[in-house]
Symmetry: C2
Subunit: 347 residues, 2 copies
Amino acid sequence: MGVKIKDVARAAGVSVTSVSRVLNKSEHISEKLEKKVLRAIEDLNYSPSLIAKSLKRNKTYLIGVIIPDITSNFQAMILSRIEEIAGRRGYNLLVSNIVEDTEKVVKYLNIYQEMRVDGIVLMHEKLNRDIGLFLDKTQIPLVVHADLGMNLSTVIIDDFKAGYDATSYLISQGHRRIAMIAGDKRDLCAGLKRLEGYTVACMDHGIEVNEALIRYGDYKLSSGYRLMSELLRESRGEFTAVFAASDDMAAGAVNCIHDHQLHVPGDLSVIGFDGSQIADIVRPKLTTIKQPVDRISECTVDLLLEIIEANEQSSSTHTMRTIVLEHELVEQGSCRAYEPRRVPSKD
Amino acid sequence: MGVKIKDVARAAGVSVTSVSRVLNKSEHISEKLEKKVLRAIEDLNYSPSLIAKSLKRNKTYLIGVIIPDITSNFQAMILSRIEEIAGRRGYNLLVSNIVEDTEKVVKYLNIYQEMRVDGIVLMHEKLNRDIGLFLDKTQIPLVVHADLGMNLSTVIIDDFKAGYDATSYLISQGHRRIAMIAGDKRDLCAGLKRLEGYTVACMDHGIEVNEALIRYGDYKLSSGYRLMSELLRESRGEFTAVFAASDDMAAGAVNCIHDHQLHVPGDLSVIGFDGSQIADIVRPKLTTIKQPVDRISECTVDLLLEIIEANEQSSSTHTMRTIVLEHELVEQGSCRAYEPRRVPSKD
DNA sequence: CTGAAAGCGCTTACAG
DNA sequence: CTGAAAGCGCTTACAG
């Protein structure tokens, strides 16, 4: 653990400059010299220090990723793809899994800055003063997976429209009394926008929004279960369909409904959001708004690296870009047309 | 993005030494000087370079984590906990999500070495020549979540015994013809050991192992589904229970059974492995071998940091340690006692 | 309590 | 094609 470039140079009988050149294939080097160097590297089991290299080159090949919850299948899928694509392009991921809240986000943003990461991917979508300040002044290339209302590069879907579409779909199936298991309103996209889509879709179809039918969760399965049991306890019979802001919550809702001896979609229709693997695990499989995970991941990495590389050329041009990807409504088994006079039957 | 310690020193009218001392709170410093320095740091929005610091201190506070598949809920839970615990102790995670195989593992191990990470957590449990060589000679503190049969520090459960227990449980419920949806035999613990546990448990109870009832998957839900449909196609009626080497595969098996109009546990009992959230999502909930996720994560970080710190004191003592944690059989709804003469009924 | 200077392990003009 | 030397941004004996 102590062999450095100088040792290799000595062993090979050449200068450190030459060793460095062999390592980086940066200039033409005689075959003889190269062979000697490679030999010495092998003999000494030399591993060049990326730390020293980073310091000198002012480039770390590190990307910091801030993700709210890796145990969410949807987020894990995105992270996994980002890792793969970035890795193929020579970048490594520094990952922070912020289970808790906004304070930790600022803490990690600062650490990333001190680590001199080449870029940051931010999947967190709550904003507070400190985060806003940081994002506002940092020079680090950054892609955000949410529309924070700031002048930042983003890769997103249209969460408002997606929420609108999910709700309209239920309405088109004849449902008029629709509950919503929403996310956190402070989440600017997954929380607020999807809820707004729901609200506006209701209004556009002449349906009065009933606040009692809107519940706020944390996207996890357990909160979907809990909120659904609240709904069944407090508002049973007042709704025929549910729109959940995540597949995990939708799955929790489905399980809760089953545990109450009711059927999906016979008694209640449920539509989810994300298109994660959970949607296919639960029975019936969830009808859901599918986010284009692969496209999101690719666009995120592509855009980030584009900004990074542009920055390396001319350090001042910060091109902001917003990429909006299409979502897709996937019909599976958890919704069905509302039948006003249907006699409860065992099928 | 260009202000360095020298600039702070100049702005504060002190030496860089003093700035460094304020930053690191390393020695006593007059209040007056400290105030000037903090002021300058604030004014210039100075962010110290961890890269430079790492080079000098020969310490990066980086832990490299190699994980086969983040989209596995079980692995995500462990990663999430490790991140949390390590973060609390000042370490950051460099994460590689090796979807593919052993080549990539070696590649990332080498990158970690070049990054001079302070330690490595290896969740991968396949071994090839290059990985063996690396593990054999590296000086980097390392904790492996598998028994690779090498002299390495490990945090594991007893996978043989766990496989034995799962199988014995089914046998104790009266099952004699038990299929196994196993992992990859090249996975030394999750693959091989659990399978051996199954085999030996059968033999110990005078049950002949029927190779046709053993299928090999990749731990994912989809392979559980696929293998179960193979079993139902090729060996229907020849088994009354199934042991799957992961909850994901067990969940896939349960869904497959349902899709064949059969019931769990009425027609077939299913036992899973891991105790991940998937076990609670599927209906019926899975009876499963629960791994102590929190304990595994804590012990892994504790052990790794212990080795790291011991190394920093006296660079030679590499204490190998093996920590074996207890698994637990959690009974939920997916198994039931075999009734030889049971008349198929619709309940 | 404070500072000047050497050095961490590399890369890269510059000179030959 | 090859090498000597400066420098990346810090920390830390050493001296005062």
